[in-house]
Symmetry: C2
Subunit: 354 residues, 2 copies
């Protein structure tokens, strides 16, 4: 049974994308961003879930120190990340990877850089118990904290019915909220919908270059992150770096992280990563899984070399970067949520750095 | 010249407040929360300043790690603080004092627990360069970061005119935003305006007890934080603990912090602290300058003993706590701001813990 109930028409074919490198921009299957993200059959998006999800997403009290929320590293007020090379969690601890953006994450076939979460629901639980992120010892401790705050109960009841304050439902609510984090109407979207003045001449040229040199082979689909659905459970992923003898690889330490291999220990998964969305990419520097590249210009240059084995000219880089700027969309206005309060008491948070 | 241009009618007399301890609740000068906070003559509140201030307040990029904003410790989505014993800044570092609430802070005669900032404008600059809070080496580095983000310029121009991107103006904008953080229409406010059913019988009884036992001597005025204006530059402050031989003092380590003496080194300022607002006090546990007391019940008991030398009965404590719950107001709905982005680049943040 297909987990997703609709939106199959939005699925770009990988085979099609792979032919783009020789096609012109106009012939390519350029797609505007859908207004809605695909929803799993067992978690249809409702306003009640979105409201609860937004509150949970913003609430720092479910981290060991009470200082780190989902929004700390995936800041929806910014480009959906933290603009840091790698994320910083409780006690100033850091992991080895950069926080991916939450904006348009709903269009990815899998979550986390190594694609280890098949859904936003699954992803949402990960950082809570990651010792260098939110640092809770177990999911149960986190949901126990949610349950201890009386004001959360009506939100759960409205979203899921009675006796529904579970970690699974909390994750469903967060995922439902994240599925609303879509940035439509970028200059690119308006252009592909027929508004030919929406992009500058250089951006149109960059779009053609983007397709011609091969970027669109992997950065395909409406979010430029590949197909939205996994291939029978296998996330859409690519080897990075592909051309590992480039000087950039050692300069930016690009081959240290073994990617999906860390999860599966399967030889064929070495250096396999999900394809990051290019939507709003100008807002999410620094770049790559390890956040090692500081600017978008350099990132394009590096990608040309380590993924396509091409020395892009300065003009090609400038044009592609101009095009990438056309992928910044509109961020829907949201209200600042009130987080239900504890009444006359507070949680015991960890205090001393580990 | 008086720094404040109006609202003098809102000023409660200290002498008056001091007589409250023998007066009944009905005779006391109970005041509803004003709809507007007093504004300094050199920083009138405008919508443009408030909008800029809200954005700056929420922006974590002006901390050394890029992870700590004003809102991290003074969370407006909560009761205006972090619900932690003491605040946690960059690299998980902690100071010795609890983050005071930002809600209704505009009604205090001075800011910080030791009253060392005479205004919200002055206060706003402090945490930015505090090594255990936002950790910037100097204010100039912080405002340089603001200036480097092109999207901030129009906000500053609208609020302050051309060439106005200064630390002083940033602080003015944040202060202007903070002056809008007022929580009106608590059950108490509605009660004193004549809506006699707004408080429960127990809350009314607690209000009378609050006045009778002497709490209102210091916790006077509309925000229960004493007079809004300083006494010729001297902030409204009280000695805490007053009765230092109580067992509570050692139990909760209440006399370690020398309060205003740390600033002035004047003998008479030993253990002098500003009087914390009681507005929304149920939402800001744990309590006291060092966050050592976990519940509101215990906080009331401790205050009775160490400030008034009274052993409050269990019923008196319960009644006063019931009254304090009536001080939770309405939090004005706000929109989640968009933080102007960096375009294709990010700041260099500090990474390693110090």
């Amino acid at each position: 049974m297909n987990m997703y109930k609709s939106h199959l028409k939005l699925l770009p074919g990988i085979a099609l994308a792979l032919t783009l490198s020789t096609a012109s921009a106009h012939a390519a299957q350029w797609q505007a961003l859908p207004e809605k993200a695909p929803e799993p059959a067992d978690n249809p998006t409702t306003p009640e879930k979105v409201e609860l999800g937004r509150i949970l997403y913003m609430d720092p009290r479910f981290s060991s120190t009470g200082t780190v929320s989902c929004n700390s590293c995936h800041n929806v007020m910014l480009g959906g990340d933290d603009n840091r090379p790698v994320a910083m969690g409780v006690h100033g601890q850091m992991g080895g990877r950069s926080a991916p953006t939450v904006w348009n994450a709903a269009f990815s076939s899998a979550q986390f850089w190594d694609g280890r979460a098949a859904s936003l629901e699954e992803q949402a639980k990960g950082p809570v118990v990651n010792p260098v992120e939110m640092g809770m010892s177990e999911l149960k401790s986190a949901i126990d904290r949610v349950r201890a705050i009386a004001g959360y109960k009506p939100y759960f009841e409205k979203a899921f019915g009675k006796d529904a304050m579970t970690a699974d439902n909390a994750a469903k609510a967060v995922a439902a909220f994240e599925r609303t984090l879509i940035t439509p109407n970028s200059p690119y979207d308006r252009y592909v919908k027929g508004e030919k003045q929406a992009m500058t001449k250089q951006q149109v040229k960059g779009m053609e270059t983007f397709a011609r040199v091969g970027c669109a082979s992997c950065h395909s689909g409406a979010a430029f992150s590949g197909p939205m659905l996994s291939n029978n459970g296998k996330p859409f992923q690519m080897k990075f770096p592909t051309f590992s003898d480039s000087a950039y690889v050692s300069k930016y330490n690009l081959d240290k992280d073994m990617g999906r291999f860390e999860v599966t220990k399967s030889e064929s998964d070495k250096h396999m990563f999900k394809v990051a969305t290019l939507r709003n990419i100008e807002l999410t520097a620094p770049y790559f899984h390890n956040g090692s590249v500081k600017t978008l210009d350099e990132a394009v240059k590096v990608m040309g070399k380590v993924q396509l084995n091409k020395d892009l000219s300065d003009d090609e880089v400038k044009d592609i970067v101009a095009f990438l700027h056309a992928l910044t969309g509109e961020f829907p206005e949201q209200k600042l949520p009130r987080l239900p309060g504890t009444s006359g008491w507070a949680f015991e948070y960890t205090e001393a750095a580990k």
